[in-house]
């Protein structure tokens, strides 16, 4: 950890940000008693609720006893940071660069901004005014040297004179270190440190700062060093400023809602070409393109596509035209899911507007390169080949696959068109109890194939709801290969039980079961429409002297299905 020169900062603090954000989203007035609940305790309480006696950290039941009309809102970190964008944008009207240290807290390097506005008081006034006016949120501003002093100053709306931070911090209780912790993990560590220090009799930041630095490092490690630096009014890192930049985007509005693919082909070409031109004018290239569309019904559809084609000689425009057209066709025909949530495919309806936004923008000539030399030739060769094949076969012709969480071998694969950004629906890291154990099968048919499992007497084996197997499986019949004439002939023969009309699958010859394991019950998603309740069985089938084929069979709804082959 290197020593950083202390930066004079102004800190803008919105009290009880999580509850303010939640109330805005829920459409509650600022004077309603509300609180945000996370886990078992309240994490933020609105001013009205606090005056009614609700405290941070208390349980839901205690809080409702103190204030029966309390509105309890769910915790959502995404919402907190999303809503805070408006506050940051308002602050950016006053100063040129701000650092969002965490939702609810903005840090601004004060020197230049204060000189511009005349004094720090004027800067603070301008900030409070802009945020109240444009974001509709009450906030407090303070300024001091060093992060912790500035945060404390903001909480009491004070301006600490330059060089006085150490004295300002000295009487503050040791718990206030937690205010400078930005992440939850860091926060628990700091809380633990504060409780140890309190038990050692170190009650204020002044006491901590008075301790020898080397001893603090030896006793408390990196957390101790962090706390000691902050308590002495020093800084850990200079503020990381964000700069707001205009997106490079184009929009195309259809005169009539587009319902036919021919209408879209032209629109896609025009939009792609104008995005290409916009990128060229800005002297940049992009790594991803976000395609958005609005339907007649007012639905917002959105998809992100990766691209690594430069804007040379219209190659980018041609490349993007195809992708935009595919995406629009997918939306029109209702086969491609819309939105980030990847939920239900929207019902087909006309499109009224189309937008393209360039993301991951880098200046031309500053493309990310490999450690040694430029981008690998093999990689770009492969990308070109895949693009060519995708041009031949269409969007779904080339698939990129990823592993995802799931229990059956088929559920564990996530496939998406090559180049489209889609994240797997289920996390692999989750435990997935009841997952079919490894080794994974090398052949997994896209849909389960019918199978017959027979006992020694030739009657079908069934598995009861309590997982009792009616008889040990002895014979298994799978579907015959389409080219297997012998099986077809046998199936047509009257001895197979058919007379005249033949329907249903053509069965291969029965194969004896050598050994088997199971049944393993899997009951999934019982709450939803695609609920499944199955029992899996691994079976080794004897084909010859030494030849054993292992298959994974599933029993559900009174029938057996071939789920996978371990070949």
């Amino acid at each position: 950890m290197s020593v950083v020169t202390v930066v004079r900062r102004a800190v803008l603090w919105v009290p009880d940000w999580p509850v303010v954000a939640a109330m805005t989203e829920a459409g509650l007035g600022a004077d309603a008693p509300a609180a945000v609940l996370h886990g078992r305790g309240l994490v933020a309480v609105s001013a009205a609720a606090r005056s009614a006696g609700v405290r941070r950290g208390s349980t839901r039941r205690l809080a409702q006893r103190a204030c029966p009309e309390l509105v309890i809102l769910p915790h959502d970190e995404g919402r907190d940071s999303r809503r805070f964008e408006a506050v940051a944008a308002a602050a950016e009207q006053v100063v040129s660069g701000v650092e969002i240290t965490r939702p609810g807290l903005l840090a601004i390097p004060a020197d230049g901004a204060a000189r511009f506005h005349g004094s720090e008081e004027a800067l603070a006034e301008a900030l409070v005014g802009a945020v109240a006016e444009q974001a509709g949120v009450e906030c407090a501003v303070g300024a001091a040297d060093g992060l912790l002093a500035a945060v404390l100053a903001a909480r009491s709306s004070e301006l600490v004179p330059a060089g006085a931070s150490r004295d300002y911090l000295a009487p503050a209780p040791i718990d206030s270190l937690a205010l400078a912790a930005m992440e939850r993990v860091q926060r628990t560590e700091v809380d633990r440190l504060a409780s140890v220090l309190t038990r050692l009799g170190i009650m204020t930041l002044g006491d901590l700062a008075a301790l020898p630095f080397a001893d603090v490092l030896a006793r408390f490690g990196p957390v101790g060093v962090w706390a000691h630096r902050l308590a002495s009014g020093e800084d850990l890192a200079p503020p990381v400023l964000r700069r707001s930049e205009e997106d490079i985007a184009v929009e195309h509005v259809f005169e009539d809602p587009a319902e036919r693919i021919e209408q879209l082909t032209h629109a896609a070409a025009v939009a792609a070409a104008s995005l290409d031109q916009a990128l060229l004018d800005a002297g940049v290239r992009c790594g991803r393109v976000r395609i958005t569309a609005r339907t007649e019904k007012g639905e917002e559809l959105e998809r992100v596509w990766r691209t690594d084609v430069g804007t040379r000689a219209g190659a980018f425009a041609r490349h993007m035209t195809d992708r935009v057209r595919w995406q629009l066709e997918g939306w029109l025909s209702g086969t491609a899911g819309g939105g980030e949530k990847g939920g239900e495919a929207p019902a087909p309806s006309g499109l009224v507007s189309l937008g393209l936004v360039a993301e991951d923008v880098v200046p031309l000539g500053a493309e990310q390169a490999y450690l040694w030399g430029g981008t690998s030739g093999a990689d770009s060769r492969a990308h070109r080949a895949l693009e060519r094949v995708q041009g031949l076969l269409g969007l779904e012709g080339v698939l990129a696959v990823a592993e995802q969480g799931g229990r059956s071998p088929r559920d564990r694969v996530h496939a998406a068109p090559w180049g489209q950004e889609a994240s797997p629906a289920r996390a692999v890291a989750h435990p997935w109890p009841g997952r079919i154990p490894d080794p994974p099968p090398a052949t997994v048919p896209p849909v389960a194939r019918p199978a017959l499992v027979l006992d020694a007497g030739g009657s079908p084996v069934t598995i009861s709801r309590r997982l009792a197997v009616s008889a040990p499986p002895t014979w298994v019949r799978l579907e015959a290969e389409a080219s297997d004439e012998r099986a077809r002939a046998a199936n047509r023969h009257p001895s197979s039980g058919h007379v005249g009309h033949v329907e249903g699958p053509v069965w291969d010859r029965p194969r004896p079961v050598e050994s088997w394991a199971g049944p393993w019950p899997v009951s999934e998603r019982w709450w939803s429409e695609d609920a499944s309740r199955r029992a899996y069985v691994q079976v080794a089938l004897r084909d010859g002297e030494d030849e054993v084929t292992a298959v994974l069979l599933a029993y559900g709804g009174g029938a057996w299905a071939l789920e996978a082959v371990y070949d």
């Binding site: 492969a382 060519r388 094949v389 090398a442 010859g544 030849e547 084929t549």
Partner: protein, 233 residues
């Protein structure tokens, strides 16, 4: 009287001289090889040479095992016409899914699609039911030789450099209603276009013993005597 060794040495020298003069050496064939899992050393002692066509009959796991080490080292892999490829199995074998593209249903465009993949990718897996004529196959093979990619074809392929057929497979770990699949031994018949000998190799393709050296079984094909006579004919 000259000994046989001395005559052999002289003959080799003369052959080397001719090769130098004409400009064709056998090294032309010794194209750089893609990395191969140590488990398969016995199956393909000369490695997975670029430009080869390897046909695999009867085992998708074996195909994946052949492609795995190369993919791990940075090669690109395409699987054409294999809609039921077990992706999780591929990942477990070591294929890098970020560099794997699936073209499950090329349909009537199979030849064009496979050609584009041979041009751009290092390893191309071809499924068994692709609409490829014999002429298409020959064209693909020569294209692979030219571009230095490897074709792993499921099902028989006339003129393949190496033909691998799974002839026997044993699983262990299953009981009568208990246990689970744990390990598998696969016996592969290896036929090489050059050399003309067929060998049987047993390898532990699945399970805890994957790292153990494979057992070579003594079931030599009848052409063994020819091989001793003809050297590296």
């Amino acid at each position: 009287m000259e000994t046989a060794e001395a005559r052999l040495a002289r003959a080799r020298e003369a052959l080397a001289g001719v090769q130098r003069r004409v400009g064709t050496t056998r090294e032309r064939w010794e194209a750089p090889a893609l990395p191969l899992a140590p488990m398969l050393d016995q199956v393909m002692p000369q490695g997975l040479r670029r430009g080869q066509v390897v046909s695999v009959v009867g085992s998708t796991s074996l195909m994946l095992a052949l492609a795995a080490a190369a993919s791990e080292e940075g090669s690109w892999t395409a699987a054409v016409g294999m809609p039921s490829l077990g992706v999780v199995a591929a990942a477990r074998r070591g294929l890098d899914l970020a560099r794997l593209a699936l073209m499950p249903h090329p349909g009537a465009q199979a030849a064009t699609v496979a050609g584009a993949c041979v041009d751009g990718m290092d390893v191309v897996l071809l499924g068994p039911r692709l609409a490829l004529s014999d002429a298409d196959r020959r064209r693909l093979a020569s294209r692979a030789r030219e571009r230095g990619s490897v074709i792993l074809a499921e099902g028989p392929w006339t003129g393949a450099h190496v033909a691998l057929t799974a002839v026997a497979s044993r699983w262990h770990g299953l009981g009568a209603g208990d246990g689970r699949l744990r390990g598998r031994e696969l016996t592969v018949r290896v036929e090489e276009r050059r050399g003309g000998l067929a060998r049987l190799v047993t390898l532990p393709i699945e399970g805890a013993s994957v790292g153990v050296a494979p057992v070579r079984r003594g079931a030599e094909a009848p052409s063994m005597s020819l091989r001793a006579l003809g050297g590296a004919a």
